[in-house]
Symmetry: D2
Subunit: 257 residues, 4 copies
């Protein structure tokens, strides 16, 4: 089969899943299986040989495994010329550099590594970064189930940093705030100068609101995520795009433009 045929949109893309018996992996298998333009050809987990993937003729591998095996998996994929979409965590700058090195020797292969496959969350952060320089005030309110250990959430912290950077670039100083008399904690945590409030309550799942304000108006960007399945549209987007994006792509942003 030639490259041309492989990328023919009429032919389903052949997909293998690594970590297929994990919580995320099982969701990926279901989602790939349900998509008319994708073919689930290999499901691999601990103990299964990676060669299963090659034998099945997978063009794209989705990896939701663990930080201790993901680098070996990726090394093998790049070597075999199999494109990869990776949701496994733990990618430091050093690890990303090593992946870039492997890809340099395999110009046709694409790898997408994303810390967050929620399209809604990624767009929320993009929009927040863009709106940031046009509003004198901004605060973040994130809301999660009460079993969460950290406050604020990683997404809220990341959003605050993006906003702080955009404000700095636009020459904006601190947001106006005349508070003189504060019960400790009332005004939230400060992340790079941005106020972040973390709400925890039974009945919530994962929600975030970014509130921008200026004279006489506010703009609110809100994301509500109800279950793990919300990552699947992002994973499938990456699966469909990775064959046409040789080299390393970090984050979902470039795929959303």
């Amino acid at each position: 089969m030639t490259d041309e045929l492989e990328k023919n949109p009429a032919e389903p893309i052949r997909v293998g899943v690594l970590g297929a018996r994990g919580r995320m992996g099982m969701e990926v298998c279901k989602a790939v299986d349900a998509a008319a333009d994708l073919d689930l050809v290999a499901m691999v987990d601990q103990g299964d040989p990676l060669s299963t993937v090659a034998d099945a003729g997978a063009e794209v591998v989705v990896d939701f495994t663990t930080p201790d095996v993901v680098m070996d998996n990726l090394d093998w994929c790049v070597n075999q010329g199999v494109n990869a979409v990776v949701g496994t965590t733990g990618f430091t700058g050093d690890r990303l550099e090593r992946v870039r090195g492997w890809l340099a020797g395999k110009p046709g292969v694409g790898v997408v590594i994303a810390p967050n496959f929620g399209i809604g969350a990624v767009l929320m952060m993009q929009f927040a970064a863009k709106a940031a320089r046009h509003f004198e005030s901004v605060e973040i309110i994130e809301q999660h189930h009460p079993r969460k250990l950290d406050a604020p959430s990683g997404t809220a912290t990341h959003t605050a940093r993006l906003i702080a950077q955009a404000r700095a670039e636009a020459g904006l100083g601190p947001a106006p705030d005349a508070t003189k008399d504060e019960v400790p904690g009332a005004r939230g945590a400060e992340i790079d100068g941005i106020r972040v409030h973390a709400v925890r309550a039974a009945g919530l799942v994962a929600h975030q609101e970014v509130l921008f304000g200026t004279t006489g108006e506010t703009l609110t960007i809100r994301h509500d995520s109800l279950d793990r399945a919300s990552f699947m549209p992002g994973v499938l987007l990456a699966v469909r795009a990775v064959r046409n994006r040789p080299g390393l792509t970090v984050g979902l942003d470039p795929l959303l433009d």
Copy 2:
């Protein structure tokens, strides 16, 4: 004119305003003037004699003056048999007792003293107190313009206390919260064990949200106040009710049932 005729709903109620040139007083004058069932018969401010009110035959006086003159005003009204609706601040338990004493000698006269004439805010607090014992989780998020000096707002603090009391009566312990790793302030202020978050941003006016949560569901009660005029429906409600409520009524709650 007999009592019976005076309370005839077909006759407009004759209303005098004390503090008529203040910001709230002017709004009251406008609102009374615009109501078909009310007659604005006297507008009194600093320097004007109170007798103007009696001369005009006012049945109800609305007082938005200052803590240093309001007690004299009320003493005079009760003595004259004029009912009063009071929005002036500074009513301590001691002051309320003195008013009760005056009224004891004038069984036909009614006085309504309310710290908050916003019907929406009062209903929000009532509903929050009622919902409190049915949900394991509850948090308050209040949002105000950035010129506000205190955080959280007085209304948020008062709401938190009502909720805490209702939870205690229902035998509810603390809301579930697994937070281990908190950036200081992220989880808000604690008022009687209830978490309260205060957001400040340009473009906001005065808003409050009470979020209740239990397994699989949340209930949110939200109040948005856009301007001073929002107190007028509550003032008019009290003006219409006070003649039929002899004695002292504190707060708008009893008038809303």
Copy 3:
């Protein structure tokens, strides 16, 4: 075992579930099982004899079956002196009368029949009915998943009727609305004169917002239901209360006061 002992709060309440293999029945079994003060003593479904419940000494039966068997189940429960909590649909006025008749002959037995066990939804409707007469404007916005067949939802329709009744009792006319130029449907459906808007979108579950407005302020009551489990706190509330409520109780409202 005497009545006194049976109602001792220190003793777990013995609970049987009818329709135990249905979707709701399974949730009830899980919820009863997880509650420290309740004992799941019988799980009955199609083909199992009702006597299982009696043999197991159940004090309360929860019935999530079907309209064609629920009346026989209830007849049997009342005869056996077993209290019942019923979530099965299809209770017409005629059916309720028949249940009342059975209970008349068994003064110690209690039955709770509720069309909606979501505590949040029931409180939302209570609060909406109470707020209705204090605001000149009100509209309902309900939001559901796109597989829903009816628009608006039954809960929204019921809420609209409660509000319309409260407004009529308070002598309120139609809400102000100057709309002259309307794209058909923009202003929603009219249920007893109340505007109701039905939003359908992937990613939603079951949500409803009741928006009240008057001069300068709005009050919003919002309910978000994320899964079937959200009915369980209401079911357990009824299970705990039914032994102390002889006769027929319709709806969750009386149990929430």
Copy 4:
């Protein structure tokens, strides 16, 4: 005065206002006056000669007049080499072409014509258009005061068209909707296939929510505008930018990038 000096950011920009006694014009005068980097040098209204503007050395003119005089104003401004920021309505394609013709002969002059100077509203539309192709479902809920004549609002209609176009370009079909049993109007108006709901209530000003949904998640973009002053940041943004944007700029979008 040379070009270099004129555009020196240290020198305040000299601004004239046409329609200075109109509602919007008065707001513009206040806003220009309050900005440290702008100088209000001319206030012109009906009956005043346009030469006042030239005599005062205005570099930028803001025009909030009426459709019947705005073309003459613009013709004069371009001829005099004065940059213009125009909020007056009524600009058809034909009118825009005529302005482009005038500007062709004056390469140094800039004109910004915008139907909406609310930065929040413009960003909301930009973000909505961008998110549109990533979500299978989308609906618009706009909320306004009850004195509004049209439903849905012009902004909602415009947003719906932008979304419909983005969906078409992305090859998305209609959003999923299983509704079989609809009370007429419940599902809103249809604008280019997009469902739009218009809420009208006392206490509201001007609000719009765009709700996007896909498997397990929703993204909401909400804009709240509380008063006319909310247009001022957008007007000032244009005033500051127009001298560096020769030719015709339509809409605020290009200035926000």
